[in-house]
Symmetry: C2
């Protein structure tokens, strides 16, 4: 890994046409980092196009520049491809081929798995968000961070630190967030847009799913279940379920939270969150899945009762 | 209001026996501010007693110094009474009489309603948390902020800014939070203790209450209802319902969130949250209650259906 922030600044100053991509199913850090960089390059008089495989999530559509994102573009029209917040180039999805066409590739990321490919890279797994690396680059180039750029950087940090809750919330994360507030962003207005824009049906589905709460292993396991009927009753989109697993995790004494979800064809999607003692990626691997120590998942064959029996059995063994 | 941080520092240096109180039903900012100050004064070789009317909430019991809080004490044994995070002295509740006994009274607060009474005061309504004022005082006295003091100041800011979401989240709030992380506190460990320690029954009650979601006024009003049966079914304590109103508020398009709660003797407690356009304190005043523009409440006579009809009618008129 050959971090080269000076090289990146030089390329950003010298070249004129930039194509900026991120990973599939982008979230706040990916979109915020892309847009902050695109707005800054445009301020410098450059052409900067944000090309993504998937749409901007509805709760991020308010971000300045979000309406300029494109989903089809010819990469050969650009001098530099910039890939942000992407652990590997495959994660850019169906736009990957276009990113190979510009002669120069810049890689800006904070994933531990990032191998540092590209002609120029800035990869720092210690950074809480890729948006912090964009800030460092803009600061190094002496680009004025206006309030439009600031809100994008702020959302990148806000979302990737889980509202400043996660262990990655460093003094630098707080410092940059404070600087963005100083530049005029409104923390409450932003939090409201990002977090307070769910549908009534999603909230009703959450109520139903919380009603399924099961406690096992003497309080060390908490699980919620979403059936196909639940999804149908509330016309649920796939993204409705995001974050639901945080609720069983929040119960006092719980070591591992589990979310079961009925899929088509008799399959059950099982998600795990560990508070640290149990390595849930090992358990998921035994069931043909994978993930990280504290967050992992797998897909198992039903019926639901039998899946639960197997999952609780494996977790109880790990908790002993 | 005669802010006098130098005078406070002098008193803290010169005197030896301090009695530190806060408001009834204390939360993170009150407890964190008290304990940070008490720990700092003890480091300076002083006697510092934290005297409260009500117990430390369970989710704050992990705070360093929390086990030293007392609930009965003779104020005449002290040279200085310090009241923190208290808009008026009555808010100290049943310990108020003891706070009048020491010859010197110090008042440290950030409530807009604080009249600045006391021999020495530091009242700054622009501060997001009283914990920030404690930080300023300790910095002015050059007291080393160790990790035990730091976690108390951090929790004061974390809770009074709603995890850095509220409009009061200033650059200074972010700056001090970052400094506390630099002093060794673990943001995730703290957030887990403060926010991820609910009972399974509270979560089940939340599920039930979310199932009651009603949308009115074409999506501008969202309301949830908690019946006496709901409370009984989950052996709910009073504090179980705290924060529930944030869920209807989080629905997209909602201008006013309402929480109805059946009380004894046929009364209905009604809480309101406005996103800004409607002044809910005016509506509550018409029903004999009160509060702030964006957060208010009242108690009305049932039956529930009739209360809802009146509340929706008043809100629909205000929304026109």
């Amino acid at each position: 890994m050959k971090n080269n922030i000076e090289g990146i600044c030089r390329i950003f100053r010298e070249k004129d046409r930039f194509l900026i991509a991120c990973h599939e199913n982008p979230e706040g850090d990916a979109i915020g980092s892309q847009l902050a960089l695109a707005l800054a390059l445009r301020k410098m008089g450059k052409t900067a196009t944000v090309l993504n495989a998937d749409p901007v999530p509805g709760n991020l559509a308010f971000l300045p520049g979000a309406d300029s994102v494109v989903y089809e573009e010819d990469g050969s029209r650009y001098e530099v491809a910039v890939v942000v917040d992407c652990g590997s180039s495959e994660r850019t999805g169906r736009v990957q081929a276009e990113l190979c066409k510009p002669p120069v590739l810049v890689n800006i990321d904070h994933h531990r798995t990032n191998g540092g490919c590209g002609d120029y890279c800035l990869v720092d797994p210690e950074a809480a968000a890729t948006g912090m690396l964009i800030y460092r680059i803009l600061a190094a180039m002496n680009v004025e961070i206006d309030s439009d750029i600031a809100v994008n950087i702020y959302v990148a940090i806000l979302t990737d630190t889980g509202s400043f809750h996660y262990a990655n919330t460093s003094p630098e994360a707080f410092h940059i967030a404070g600087e963005m507030v100083r530049r005029g962003i409104d923390p409450w207005g932003v939090a409201e847009q990002v977090y307070e824009t769910q549908s009534a049906d999603r909230l009703r589905l959450l109520g139903r799913v919380l009603g399924s709460l099961e406690i096992a292993a003497g309080g060390k396991i908490a699980a919620v279940t979403t059936t196909k009927k639940d999804l149908a009753d509330f016309s649920a989109r796939k993204d409705f379920l995001e974050g639901f697993i945080n609720y069983p995790r929040s119960v006092i004494g719980v070591e591992v939270a589990v979310a079961f979800r009925e899929e088509d064809a008799g399959e059950i999607r099982v998600s795990f969150r560990s508070k640290g003692r149990v390595d849930v990626s090992a358990i998921c691997q035994a069931f043909g899945g994978g993930g990280h120590r504290n967050a992992a998942g797998c897909i198992m064959r039903g019926p639901l009762d039998e899946v639960k029996r197997k999952v609780y059995g494996a977790l109880e063994a790990a908790l002993r």
